[in-house]
């Protein structure tokens, strides 16, 4: 029993940053915008949070900066992919490269000087779960959520109602960036309170995978994040019995399986209808 609890505890700890980032991605994708820049936004958020906390000594200010810079990075994506209607996937890839590049360049001065009093992790873990429930509440119980989901399903209809599709999508993408920034801040202020180049180590991509894996559903994302955390944890627990690589590749394989199964049942994996499609008034 104790053993089980400890395994679950680890799964939750690992799952927290990917849950945070995935929640943001769920919101953005629910509004119809794929953002593959999560890894880059997370890295920028992690650096901004750490640099601020390190120079001012104020952890909460650091957290705020991490969130802000994440959102700022997302604004690039919103500008290119929403306003200028460029290919969302390519724009996201570019944002990841830019984010990793800029954070690696500017982070050099912060290497080798850790934060002595990091933020506690428990609040983040609980906060992430509460945020997931909150996002679910907003998405499914409020007018705002209805509009946001409609923008992802049928932007034309929303437009006809006189609501700006571009504005809704911008806000959703900014929220996605803020959450990625928050996930990055969790890494650099709490989970591994230091800056090293490459600190995100692919977690952003796992968050993207998670978003699809849970069928764009924020509450299922909680379970999904902990499930991925469990796999990652088991990869090391079962070492010597099962090659770690198989457990580590499993999340990515499962995404493909889930997408295929959903497609088989003709549900499209509950993917928003207009996912990945730029919206232009008068088209469609």
């Amino acid at each position: 029993m104790n053993e089980l609890l400890s395994v679950l505890g680890q799964a939750v700890a690992f799952g927290t940053p990917i849950l945070l980032a995935a929640l943001g991605e769920v919101v953005a994708e629910r509004a119809g915008v794929v953002n593959l820049g999560v890894e880059g936004m997370m890295a920028l958020g992690a650096l901004a949070a750490f640099a601020t906390a390190q120079t001012t000594g104020n952890l909460l200010l650091g957290l705020l900066m991490g969130v802000l810079v994440g959102a700022l990075a997302a604004a690039i994506h919103a500008l290119v992919a929403v306003t200028l209607r460029a290919n969302q996937f390519v724009s996201g890839l570019a944002l990841t490269a830019l984010g990793l590049g800029v954070s690696g360049l500017l982070g050099q001065h912060f290497v080798g000087s850790p934060l002595l009093e990091p933020l506690p992790g428990a609040e983040f873990r609980i906060g992430a779960v509460l945020l997931a429930i909150g996002v679910w509440g907003v998405l499914y119980l409020t007018q705002t959520g209805l509009i946001l989901r409609s923008v992802g399903e049928n932007p034309g209809a929303v437009d006809v109602m006189g609501i700006s599709v571009v504005r809704v999508r911008w806000l959703a993408v900014l929220f996605g960036g803020a959450m990625a920034g928050l996930a990055g801040s969790y890494l650099s202020l709490s989970y591994r309170p230091a800056w090293v180049d490459g600190t995100t180590a692919g977690l952003g991509w796992i968050a993207v995978a998670l978003t699809i894996f849970v069928g764009w559903h924020p509450v299922r994302a909680i379970l999904g994040a902990f499930f991925f955390g469990l796999l990652y944890h088991l990869a090391f627990r079962l070492q010597g019995r099962v090659p770690s690589e198989f457990l580590l590749m499993l999340p990515y394989l499962l995404v493909v399986v889930v997408l295929s199964l959903a497609a088989l049942r003709r549900q499209q994996g509950a993917a928003p209808e207009a996912l990945g499609l730029p919206y232009k008034r008068g088209e469609r």
């Binding site: 290497v111 850790p114 090293v196």
Partner: protein
């Protein structure tokens, strides 16, 4: 094209001291970014210290050079007038050999490899003694009798360090085991964190590791567990209440010695065939330390003084005294003590080092067996 050859000739003349610059130019090929705060960071510190110490030295470096692709950078370095080129990863071995053949007038030194040539030396600052001492402390401090080790790749270098560590652990605590998790990466904070968490979940309470980031320490510190974990660079500041000690490297000692000998003509491009730096505690190339000049974090000295064990002569001593005595002993020019002295059996009971024999450098750099007390997967374990 002609002009370029003239320029090249000028560089060579310059190198021979006939033109403007009389400085020796040494250039470094790094495998990672100095931003890793690990392996490459330590080499870069060594380079900077050497440059500071030697007024006639000029250095250059290039970071994150992928394995198998160092040659173009070496070409560029040679064109830029580099006279000594250091390649700082095992993975560059064959390329460095090829480069030494291609540029017989340039002096090369390859880190962690074993192939040499008249103009190619090898060098390594090795931690195995320091890991043994780390193990002594880990064995004394563990309350669960489980010590954790996050390993990068199961290669002889890391296996040697884990074995030395385990021998130390068992010397002060024969009941204790060293539990190993591999991450199959030199640098991956996410995997290192999860490997450390897995070890924590399995009951380990003192940690050591081989990975290029401070992650393992930070994960241990979060649970208020201990780390003998300054790896390559001082890490006390990463967890002042949890870092007991660690393994600090001083590449500058080797760089300064090697470059000085190149500068004064002792080493040339003709006589390096047998030049192999295998520098240990006695050369001050490595240091036992929570921080520079702090072998043991004072917070843990009382606990280590309280724990009494039998030393090799059968006398009861405190672990603190044992560590300090052996540290002093192994820092002598000709240490009389070496952790890899027989009789040593592996964890399956097979005799690996007969009584009275000490493992040679060649044996150490190719060792594959696991010491008693090591628990966990051990790829390529000899039968």
């Amino acid at each position: 094209m002609k002009l370029r050859w003239i320029a090249l000739a000028a560089v060579f003349l310059g190198a021979m001291g006939l033109a403007q610059s009389a400085k020796l130019k040494a250039c470094f090929v790094y495998v990672g970014p100095p931003g890793d705060y690990g392996w490459t960071f330590a080499h870069d510190q060594g380079r900077k210290l050497a440059e500071k110490a030697l007024p006639w030295l000029e250095t250059k470096y290039v970071e994150s050079v992928p394995e198998g692709q160092a040659m173009p950078f070496i070409d560029k370095f040679v064109k830029d007038g580099c006279q000594v080129i250091f390649t700082t990863s095992f993975g560059y071995m064959d390329e460095t050999v090829a480069a030494a053949k291609k540029y017989p007038n340039v002096i090369f030194a390859h880190n962690a490899g074993y192939k040499r040539a008249p103009n190619l030396a090898t060098y390594m600052a090795d931690f195995y003694q320091v890991y043994y001492l780390s193990g002594l402390m880990a064995g004394a401090l563990t309350k669960t009798d489980k010590v954790g080790y996050v390993g990068a790749y199961p290669v002889p270098e890391v296996k040697r360090h884990i074995d030395a560590f385990a021998l130390g652990v068992q010397a002060t605590n024969p009941k204790a085991t060293v539990n190993v998790k591999w991450i199959n990466a030199w640098f991956d904070p996410a995997k290192a964190a999860e490997a450390a968490n897995a070890l924590i979940a399995e009951g380990s309470d003192v940690f050591s590791y081989t990975e290029d980031s401070p992650t393992t320490i930070q994960v241990a510190a979060k649970k208020n567990l201990l780390a003998i974990g300054s790896h390559y660079s001082p890490m006390l500041k990463y967890a002042p209440n949890n870092v007991v000690s660690g393994q600090i490297v001083h590449w500058d000692k080797i760089y300064i010695d090697f470059l000085t000998k190149v500068h004064n003509g002792t080493y040339t491009n003709k006589n390096l065939q047998n030049v192999d730096y295998w520098w240990l505690l006695s050369h001050n190339a490595v240091e036992l330390g929570a921080d520079i000049n702090m072998p043991i974090n004072p917070k843990f000295i009382p606990a280590l003084k309280a724990k009494m064990v039998k030393d090799s002569a059968g006398k009861m001593v405190s672990v603190y005294d044992l560590v300090m005595t052996q540290l002093k002993e192994m820092s002598q020019p000709k240490p009389s003590f070496d952790p890899f002295t027989g009789p040593l059996k592996d964890r399956n009971g097979v005799l690996r080092v007969p009584a009275g024999k000490t493992m040679t450098e060649e044996e150490l750099t190719s060792m594959e067996w696991a010491a008693p007390g090591v628990v966990g997967a051990w790829p390529n374990e000899p039968k």
